[in-house]
């Protein structure tokens, strides 16, 4: 099944650029030129990935991202300007999975889309016990579902992968580099920001008190870990 990508940008020339390249890779493409249209198009059909421009002065890209995240974990890649650190972090904070910096090359674009789509696939769990528990946290590997205190929790693909790292290495301290490489890829090895934002978001969803986390604990200078279950 061909993946369908939604492009949201108010510049027709960007739409043309992105669409032309994505189609050569066999993706199906739909477009929207403003926030309202984007949400309409998104609700009307299954979308596998969204390319969202946050530089548009008239369209509030960040607002669209936030709105989407209220009801969906669809992978979102924001298109942002080089050097605008706040844009990047803000986008990630609002739930974007990744970013692409303008001006970008066509090959960069395609590589980023490929990576993000790959991350969105739930990882194959082989030979594992089906369920995992850690205090009030429960993971069902087979269905990629997560509960906290018996309430279902909605995680993005990236957040789920991150959580799995901790679950599979419970009791072991994982360095930032290790986490970035295994969840995002080797090219993200030094991108601490993306890790911080994701851990913060994960804590918001899993912990009773995000400032005193029990599931994902920080070890200053060393990394993070999920403390072993008390037996």
């Amino acid at each position: 099944m061909a993946k369908r990508i939604l492009i949201v940008d108010d510049e027709p020339r960007y739409l043309r650029l992105l669409e032309a390249n994505l189609r050569t890779e066999g993706y199906e493409v739909v477009v929207a030129q403003d926030g309202v249209q984007a949400l309409d198009v998104f609700s009307a059909q299954p979308i596998d990935l969204i390319l969202l421009d946050v530089m548009m002065p008239r369209l509030d890209g960040f607002g669209v991202c936030q709105r989407l995240r209220e009801f969906s974990n669809v992978p979102i890649v924001i298109l942002t300007a080089r050097g605008e650190e706040q844009d990047r972090v803000r986008g990630l904070d609002l739930g974007a999975d990744d970013y692409l910096v303008k001006p970008f090359s066509a090959t960069e674009l395609l590589a980023r889309v490929r990576t993000v789509l790959r991350r969105a696939q739930p990882p194959a769990e082989v030979g594992q016990a089906r369920f995992f528990t850690h205090d009030n946290l429960k993971i069902d590997f087979a269905r990629a579902e997560v509960w906290v205190s018996d309430e279902p929790v909605s995680l993005s693909a990236t957040e789920y992968r991150l959580l799995l790292q901790f679950a599979h290495h419970i009791g072991k301290i994982l360095s930032s580099e290790e986490l970035l490489t295994s969840v995002w890829g080797v090219e993200y090895k030094t991108d601490k920001e993306i890790l911080w934002v994701s851990i913060a978001r994960l804590r918001q969803k899993l912990e009773e008190d995000a400032h005193s986390p029990r599931h994902i604990v920080t070890r200053s200078g060393l990394g993070y870990l999920m403390p072993p279950n008390e037996t």
């Binding site: 020339r13 960007y14 050569t24 008239r58 001006p103 090359s105 066509a106």
Partner: protein, 395 residues
Amino acid sequence: MDAATLSFLHGVFQEMQQKQDWKAALDALFASLRGSFVFDNAAIYLEDPLTQKIEVAYARAVGREKTAGADAAWGESVANDVIEKKQMIMQAPKQDGVGKGRLGLAHLLGLPLYLGFQLRGALVFVRFGGPEYSEEHIQIASLHAFWASALIERNELQKARAELNSVQSQMRLQDDFVSTISHELRTPLGFIKGYSTSLLRQDTVWDAATQREFLTIIDEESDRLAKLIEDMLESARLHSKTLQFKFSPVRVDALARDVATRIHTHFPDLKIVFDFQPTPPIQGDGTRLSQVFENLLGNAIKYASNSELVIALRAVADKVRVTVADHGEGISAEYLPFLFERFYRVPGERPVAGTGLGLYICKQIIMAHHGNIWVESALGKGSTFFIELPIEQKI
């Protein structure tokens, strides 16, 4: 505290509070307490932090020897003493009584003024011919000193705050401008990079039509980038007022005709009609005004190419009014207020051809001529641009 004192103090403070100016407030304070503390002259000396010299910030002559003037040389040496010794100084008159009559018998009392915990000056009182200052007088004088410090400091803080606000809003404008520029420049760059790398991809083949399409876009965007840079420099020069305008008598009708003729050679299909009434020459910069006309006519070509263009010239009161009117597509009313803003482009379907700076630059030039530029337009009907220029330039 007894009720009478309380009520009195309340009255004093209230009156001080109502005075906007710190000197008036101080006057009110001294006047209110005159019953308990009397003096002939008072002066405040503040030390300039840079030069470390004292300057008179306040001087009043309210008692005897009023006619001797409110100059404050009499208190300087005591003020310097106060500042140096960091304490209250009382100076009795010299025993030999040298000096003109009463003035020779000057009883001085100087008190330190602390602004923000720093000794910044002195408040000095003088009584010509006494009486000496009693303990109570000194107490009250100290009160005056505390209040004077507070009032002066409040005044300085108010000034600092006003300046801070001004600087902050300047910086915000600057920030907006810088981020807008970077956005504007990145857009064509983004296209050039994107479309060229698309063509360079080794893993796909583009058909001939698509190749041409992409290359055309790269070409157009490069042009746009060049024009953008040019316009930005122009705009920056105008904004920082480093652009020199050379004013001389200009015949607007001749100027308009020149520009129209030039444009016509490049666009022979453009129909231009002149509707000129006799107008006196104005004081202006011919080159810059030509620029304005070129821009307006250029816009007409872009947005009203099939329409007839009417350039009219009238004398209206003490001004010359030029109108450039077309029957092109017009501009929707909701966009009109923003038309002359920097980088503003009317949202629309077509790949944007302009830089968003043309009308902004026009406005800057016309404003530098102390004139006015505005537009009237209706969607589907056309647009009319108005320019008014004063005939006499006020220097």
